[in-house]
């Protein structure tokens, strides 16, 4: 287990190198020229050429890659093409709101999703099952931009209970995290239910029941514990999905987070910021996946790492 963990961490290093190369190529494959956007619409191609020169965009791609990699190794991510600020200064202040919202969304989505999933599985085929699943599926059926706008109409404009934008008071976290978490909640509920159903008809549940253990205890201790493996996988997988949700929620609720920065930077062709953000997301992903894989071993003794 420990050996496996070390092996995985070591194997993540070449993976990151490959990813950084892919990100670099991928960004430069997107047509467009930041110099033209910087120079402004009235600029002529000669002026744009000068801007390109200043930004180092005229260097051969290989050399630009070299500069980028050398920068990475010394943790110097360069300067934003758009306004010359360091990439670190650009990203750092946007990091907090995104992480806060992601964690909050994850928290309520996991709690509610699990609850709905268990209720549905236990009351399989009954009204509670349908109601739980309809609530869950509603979460994944509404596009998040649409959901966000509907929530603003209801809770902010009509009722005046919650603020529309920003992250200033605790109240302002409610709608964005709800919007972000809905899809994840649905998926967690869905997978909890299906894997609970599988487990509930296993022999050991029959045995546990036969032993006269309380139903609540049987469900939680035996069935749910064994469902965790599925739930953990799915939850891990959803982090990427949450980032997507964060782009939408950040746009709708005007939150200055990483998702919006990334979309804006892609639009602006701010290569330096896009590179740094994608690399950061990749790193985050690798770490979460590693944790998920290791949890398999903890949760399911049948899994062998060889």
């Amino acid at each position: 287990m420990l050996r496996y963990a070390v092996k995985r961490i070591l194997s993540a290093i070449p993976l990151l190198l490959v990813i950084s190369l892919l990100i670099f190529m991928f960004i430069h494959l997107i047509p467009g020229d930041p110099a033209r956007i910087i120079a402004g619409k009235e600029a002529t191609s000669y002026e744009i050429e000068n801007v390109r020169e200043q930004l180092g965009l005229n260097e051969p791609l290989l050399k630009q890659y070299g500069i980028y990699m050398a920068g990475l190794l010394t943790l110097d991510l360069g300067n934003s093409i758009r306004n010359g600020a360091t990439v670190f200064d650009t990203i750092a202040p946007r990091f907090v709101p995104t992480i806060q919202l992601t964690l909050l969304a994850m928290l309520w989505a996991t709690l509610l999703g699990t609850l709905l999933g268990i209720m549905a599985a236990v009351r399989r085929g009954k009204t509670l099952d349908y109601v739980s699943m309809i609530i869950a599926i509603s979460g994944i059926s509404a596009p998040s931009f649409w959901l966000g706008l509907m929530l603003i109409q209801l809770f902010c404009v009509k009722l005046g209970w919650l603020p529309v934008s920003g992250l200033t008071t605790w109240k302002s976290y409610i709608l964005p995290s709800f919007t972000m978490g809905c899809g994840v909640m649905a998926i967690i509920a869905r997978f909890t239910r299906s894997s609970m159903l599988e487990n509930l008809k296993e022999d050991y549940i029959r045995t546990a029941r036969a032993k006269g253990l309380g139903e609540f205890f049987v469900i939680l201790r035996h069935a749910y514990k064994n469902s965790l493996i599925q739930v953990v996988t799915v939850t891990g997988l959803q982090i990427g999905g949450l980032l997507t949700g964060s782009v939408m929620a950040e746009t709708v609720f005007s939150i200055n987070g990483l998702g919006r920065l990334l979309v804006d930077s892609i639009g602006f062709r701010d290569y330096k910021v896009v590179q740094a953000l994608l690399l950061f997301f990749s790193l985050e992903y690798i770490v979460i996946n590693l944790i998920v894989d290791l949890l398999y071993g903890v949760l399911d003794p049948k899994v062998r790492y060889d």
Binding site: S45, Y46, N83, S138, Q153, S254
Partner: protein, 519 residues
């Protein structure tokens, strides 16, 4: 059964949305919040070209000259100025006793120091290219020499005639040389100008908060603070205005108008802009090379329907290549919507059966809507149009190519000259030397007469000569139909009735120095 439940839930939700507001909005403080769509790229006034950042920095920084309401030049940091007879030397007499936010004096040396920064190409500032003539080989020479004559007198000597000099000068605002010394190009995080407001906090990509400058040389603002907040989604901006989270929003799109209709506490303002809406017609496309076809297409567009559809009727039909807010604007005869005439012209040109075209547009909803309208209108005379939405970067990559590789046919687009000069209004779009990849003449419009009129005007400084040259140029371009002429936008904003003194400039800049909140 399940479906019924679902429907019930949906219906219940619908009813919730139908409820009326259960509260009233009143001002709770003396702080003004302005919600804008755009992104304020930087707080370094020499390194910005976007209207949002210009709006924001103008609270803290001021230019030598500006415009009054009729778009005449007025002195701001300069009290008066003289122009030499040859139009090459401008002498500015600066206002006395003005101090920067850091307490240092604003004087002629400060103006020189600011221009030293702007004219230094190695700083990579976005305002720099305006002050250079760039030749086709990439070599560039500065247009001006700036000298301090004494404490309060500064001269600008031009290397050649440049009729838009004052327009460009109005775009430059002045930073404290002491602050520049200390922070260099990091000045964007430490704004220090002469303006009525002092920067309290700039959260990049989020908001700018400013408080009054108590040592201001003019009237000190009456509000406690001004916050300009970036809110990209139109529905969110409207909601913020309705709840009182924002006191002023820009832009207020016509789609959102219905949302605040009947709300007595909200006022929508509309002022004529310098934004021209048009569709370029690439004359290199065989069918579009015939001026009769281009005229026929202009006759086939119902401009009133366009304005009703896109702007709820709140815009002006374009009647020149210049918007009315630009100096030397001369109105022409509009190509009135006339399908019979259009069909006749198509037949004369030999295209009675029509042909196929593509129209490019930005991928924003409103732009796609406009392009779709053009598609519907041209279908009436047999022209089959395909709408192709693009993101800006990708479209640039396809537009700015060598002429023989060009694939652009029609482009649904808009233009506004940031300096309000007649030259900037059309040069990049219609002068034959500005064809891609050099610049944005995507109509590939080539008319030597037109080129000469523009070039002569640029070298002149006599208003009468300029008026004559520009009137001729407008008539020539109008007859040639390089574009489908559509409309000139109004700049639309909305605010709560308790807020006064905030208004829009025609270029989309928000003016908020006189903001006040009623008790």
């Amino acid at each position: 059964m399940k479906m019924c439940k679902v429907l019930a839930v949906v219906l219940a939700l619908t009813m919730c949305f139908g409820m009326v507001s259960a509260y009233a909005v009143t001002p709770t403080d003396n702080d003004v919040v302005i919600a804008i769509e755009g992104n304020m790229s930087s707080m370094d006034p020499h390194n910005i070209t976007d209207t949002s950042a210009i709006s924001a920095t103008r609270g803290m920084y001021e230019p030598l000259v500006g415009f009054d309401e009729d778009r005449n030049f007025i002195g701001i940091l300069a009290e008066t100025w003289d122009i030499s007879d040859d139009g090459l030397t401008y002498t500015f007499h600066l206002r006395d006793g003005i101090k920067f936010h850091d307490g240092t004096d604003f004087n002629a040396d400060a103006v020189v120091a600011n221009f030293d920064r702007i004219l230094d190409e190695s700083n990579g500032l976005r305002r720099t290219p305006n002050w250079y003539v760039t030749a086709a080989d990439g070599s560039s020479t500065p247009r001006v020499t700036v000298t301090a004559e004494d404490e309060s007198t500064v001269t600008f000597v031009l290397n050649e005639g440049w009729s838009t000099f004052l327009n460009k000068l109005a775009l430059i605002t002045y930073i404290s040389p002491a602050a520049l010394e200390e922070y260099g190009n990091d000045i964007m995080y430490h704004p220090c100008g002469t303006g009525p407001f002092v920067c309290e906090e700039w959260s990049e990509g989020n908001f700018l908060k400013m408080i009054p400058n108590t040592d201001y040389w003019g009237d000190i603002p009456s509000v406690d603070s001004i916050t300009i907040q970036e809110v990209p989604e139109a529905g969110t901006r409207t909601a913020m205005l309705q709840t009182g989270e924002a006191d002023f929003i820009y832009p207020m799109t016509s789609d959102q108008e219905g949302a605040v209709a009947g709300d007595e506490d909200i006022v929508i303002d509309s002022v004529p802009s310098n934004i021209m809406r048009y569709v370029t017609l690439n004359a290199d496309v065989e069918a579009l090379s015939d001026v009769k076809v281009r005229q026929a297409m202009n006759y086939a567009i119902d401009k009133n329907a366009y304005i009703a559809l896109m702007y709820n009727g709140d815009a002006t039909i374009a009647d020149s290549v210049f918007p009315p807010t630009i100096s030397y604007y001369a109105p022409q005869t509009v190509y009135e919507y006339d399908l019979d005439k259009a069909k006749e012209l198509m037949e004369e040109a030999g295209y009675a059966d029509g042909f196929d075209l593509t129209i490019w547009c930005d991928n924003a909803t409103q732009e796609i809507k406009g392009a779709t309208f053009i598609q519907q209108q041209l279908a009436q005379i047999g022209i089959n149009v395909e709408v192709v939405p693009y993101d800006v970067g990708s479209m640039d990559a396809d537009i700015y190519v060598e002429r023989d590789e060009a694939t652009i046919q029609m482009w649904y687009v808009n233009w506004s000259a940031s300096d309000f000069s007649a030259d900037s209004t059309v040069r990049a779009l219609l002068h034959s030397s500005m064809e891609p990849p050099v610049s944005a003449n995507t109509a590939y419009y080539e008319n030597n007469e037109f080129d000469k009129l523009l070039d002569d005007a640029l070298a002149s400084a006599d208003p009468e000569v300029l008026a004559d040259l520009y009137a001729q140029a407008q008539a020539v371009a109008w007859a040639d139909c390089p574009w489908l002429f559509l409309a000139v936008d109004n700049v639309r904003s909305a605010h709560q009735t308790y807020l006064t003194g905030v208004h829009m400039d025609p270029d989309g800049r928000i003016v908020y120095e006189d903001a006040a909140i009623a008790e």
